[in-house]
């Protein structure tokens, strides 16, 4: 097992800048998920670590060893591809043992390792089958098995679950979590699905436009998003953003966007004078929009109109309009109010975030 360092990684495809100075340190035995929207450069970063893409600038090292110029097979990594990339003309067993056979590993050793990986992944029954004869989930397991057999220093997963249906994806997510507990390996996992990122990761690297937006544990990036992008990307349903201006009235700082006026308590934004007149975005997760009830450390009541209710079973999504501002709230089922009715809501200050409009960075505590 090994640590991985990215130092100032830059990637250009001709004039197109894909990665612009990525610095990430990944520790030994760590499960790191790189997450971001399509085209943010996360897969490119992974492929560069694997040695499948040229590195335009910067340095990648595995276990302190610079690997920029090393051939993929010499980097002691294993990769699981989005489309599995199982060799279609080889059986499961041949697929799993291919790398070892190329290295002329001892036959008994190959058999032992394949057997071990197959029993971890419950693939023993399928060893003689062709990839074509397997379901999507089984193919994915074979692809993981192919990685395990090689006993690499670092496992790379490139959106491994995105070709599976929703139910299977959940099952495989749990499988991968269990596998990590068992192997205790360094795993770098790329996905665009923030649920996978939140559930699997020890640490999350959030990327956008080729830049690392925030690195932190799942709960850190959820509770303390560093900027507007992270706040909007992590969490489902998406955070509500209110765009407006701060103003100082007496000693109290107020936020206003024309429809909603909120007092901003000092534990959210200290040094009120500094923020007078600042353009900001206030972020509140739907869970922290309290509808028709009070809570500790909550804002003043705001009057709104219920537009749509979505019943999910245990929870209910409410789409509320306050003046021209649209808000989403999640409440316990059953809310029992018909669309069009007036509702009272307030915001939970403890989970409220204030972002500067210009820099998009978080300025609240």
């Amino acid at each position: 097992m090994a640590s991985v360092q990215f130092k100032g990684i830059v990637k250009k495809f001709k004039d197109n800048l894909v990665l612009n100075g990525v610095d990430v340190d990944i520790k030994d035995h760590e499960f790191v998920v790189i997450v971001g929207p399509s085209g943010c450069g996360k897969t490119t970063l992974l492929r560069m670590l694997a040695g499948l893409e040229e590195i335009t600038d910067g340095e990648i090292s595995i276990d302190g060893l610079r690997v920029n110029e090393l051939h993929p097979s010499k980097r002691q990594i294993a990769m699981v591809f989005q489309d599995y990339a199982l060799y279609p003309h080889m059986t499961v067993e041949e697929n799993m043992s291919f790398a070892l056979r190329l290295r002329k590993t001892d036959k008994a050793e190959i058999a032992a390792r394949v057997d071990e990986a197959a029993s971890i992944l419950q693939l023993k029954k399928f060893l003689k089958r062709m990839p074509k004869q397997l379901s999507g989930g089984q193919r994915q397991r074979v692809a993981i098995g192919r990685a395990i057999v090689r006993k690499p220093k670092v496992f790379l997963f490139d959106e491994p679950l995105s070709n599976l249906d929703a139910k299977l994806r959940e099952e495989m997510r749990v499988e991968i979590a269990k596998l990590y507990q068992r192997l205790n390996a360094t795993i770098i996992y790329v996905t665009h699905d923030q649920v996978e990122a939140m559930t699997l990761a020890g640490r999350i690297v959030i990327m956008n436009h080729g830049i690392v937006q925030q690195v932190g544990s799942p709960i850190e990036v959820y509770r303390k998003p560093a900027n507007l992008f992270v706040a909007g990307f992590i969490g489902s349903p998406t955070m509500n953003f209110l765009h407006g201006r701060l103003s100082l009235e007496g000693e109290t700082l107020f936020f206003s966007n024309g429809d909603i006026k909120l007092s901003i308590p000092p534990y959210l934004l200290s040094d009120a004078k500094k923020h007078d007149g600042r353009e900001v975005a206030v972020g509140v997760r739907p869970d922290d929009v309290l509808v028709g009830r009070d809570g500790e450390k909550c804002s003043d009541k705001v009057e709104g109109v219920l537009e749509v209710c979505e019943l999910l079973g245990h929870r209910e999504n409410l789409y509320i309009k306050v003046g021209e501002t649209r808000l989403q709230a999640t409440v316990e089922a059953f809310f029992d109010r018909s669309p069009g009715s007036a509702v009272q809501l307030c915001f939970n200050y403890r989970n409220m975030h204030v972002f500067d409009k210009a820099t998009e960075r978080r300025i609240s505590e």
């Binding site: 040695g51 499948l52 990769m79 990339a85 060799y87 279609p88 003309h89 291919f98």
Partner: protein, 394 residues
């Protein structure tokens, strides 16, 4: 006015074909509609032959035995529809009918006639009698015996021809595949001016074969051909080559089969290249990524990834290439076959052509052609069987 006349004739011909197809479809239609009526048997067995005969007469054909043949055909069709089809699948049969007429005219009729010829004796001495009286002596299997025992030309035997044909086919297809594969691998890389290279490489295939072959034949001319001129220039620059045995040769008279092979390899590589390139481009790049990580070298990737994955496109192409090369009369005939040409380069089909149209042994050639057909059929079935087995494997 000549052009108007041509247009008129073509239009008349198209009209005639349309009428024939319409008649056939009408014939099938009534069959399906009334096959189980009591009066229908009589009409089908007597009415249609009479109508068809009237049509043939109107078209200017004088065939005394046509009536009997038409009656026989009509009876067969009647029995087939009455007892086998029983009025089922009306629409599919009607939709297939026009295509079936075309196939029958272009393939079935010539093939049946060829089988008929091969059991009779049609040659220069009997052809006038056949034309005047319609009589052809029946000889049974004699023509087939002759195929294996006598030479189709003046000296070379069937077996020598067969061996030469197999050698010719194998060497050509081998170099086609190897050359096409190498070029396809080169073109599959990200290189500059790829489109231009591809166009240039496809030209030999896109040109009419006759033009290409005749042009290449000129290049192998002993005095004025490019090949010998090039060898002479080379010798002038590097005199030591002469001591290695390099010298201009009489390509067309001394090495006719080799010359034909070189020309045909040049002609056939583009097809294989295009097919293999298509196959290469259909292979997902993630297999190569995975193989890179697994530590496969370039040759290992070629052997364990590329070759198995292009096999499905390669096998049909090789089968086609084998049949085409086996049957390639163009190159051999155009390079060596004209008057005074040599027999040293003849393969089965070119010998067959000469036997039929230079030596005028029609029945013998018919039997010969059927033997060649049987051989090719066997080769193709073996290939395709191997292909199916390969497909089962994955």
């Amino acid at each position: 006015m000549e052009i108007l006349r041509s247009i008129y004739e073509v239009a008349w011909f198209i009209l005639l074909i349309a009428a024939g197809v319409a008649a056939l479809v009408g014939y099938l239609y009534t069959h399906f509609r009334y096959y189980d009526r009591g009066w229908f048997a009589g009409v089908a067995l007597a009415g249609y032959p009479v109508l068809a005969l009237a049509g043939l007469r109107a078209a200017g054909l004088q065939l005394p035995s046509a009536a009997a043949w038409l009656f026989f055909a009509s009876a067969l069709i009647y029995v087939f529809f009455r007892y086998a089809v029983k009025g089922r699948h009306t629409v599919p049969y009607l939709l297939l009918a026009p295509a079936f007429v075309g196939l029958a005219l272009l393939l079935v009729y010539p093939f049946v006639f060829e089988v008929y010829l091969s059991f009779h004796d049609l040659k220069l001495t009997t052809i006038m009698g056949w034309k005047n009286t319609g009589y052809l002596p029946f000889v049974g299997l004699e023509q087939y015996v002759k195929v294996f025992t006598t030479s189709p030309l003046s000296e070379v035997s069937f077996w020598a021809l067969l061996g030469r044909t197999l050698l010719w086919t194998f060497s050509n297809v081998f170099f086609h595949v190897v050359g096409g594969f190498a070029l396809a691998l080169l073109l599959n890389n990200a290189i500059r001016f790829k489109g231009a290279y591809r166009t240039l490489l496809v030209i030999p295939w896109a040109m009419p074969q006759v033009v290409a072959v005749l042009a290449m034949r000129g290049e192998f001319h002993s005095q004025n051909g490019f090949v010998n001129i090039f060898i002479n220039k080379l010798l002038a620059v590097f005199p030591f080559l002469a001591s290695l045995g390099v010298a201009p040769v009489q390509w067309l008279s001394d090495y006719p089969l080799l010359t034909c092979t070189i020309i045909n390899v040049w002609l056939g590589i583009p097809f294989m290249m295009v097919v293999i390139l298509g196959g290469l481009q259909s292979i997902s790049s993630s297999y190569y990524d995975a193989a890179d990580i697994d530590g496969a070298s370039y040759l290992q990737k070629l052997r364990f990834i590329t070759l198995p994955l292009i096999k499905p496109v390669l096998m049909p192409a090789v089968t086609l290439g084998t049949v085409w090369t086996f049957n390639n009369i163009n190159v051999i005939y155009l390079v060596t076959g004209q008057s005074g040409g040599t027999e040293q380069a003849d393969i089965l089909v070119s010998a067959l052509y000469k036997a039929a149209f230079t030596y005028n042994r029609y029945s013998y050639s018919a039997a010969f052609a059927i033997v060649v057909f049987a051989l090719l059929f066997f080769i193709s079935v073996t290939y395709l069987h191997g292909f199916d087995a390969a497909k089962e494997e994955r």
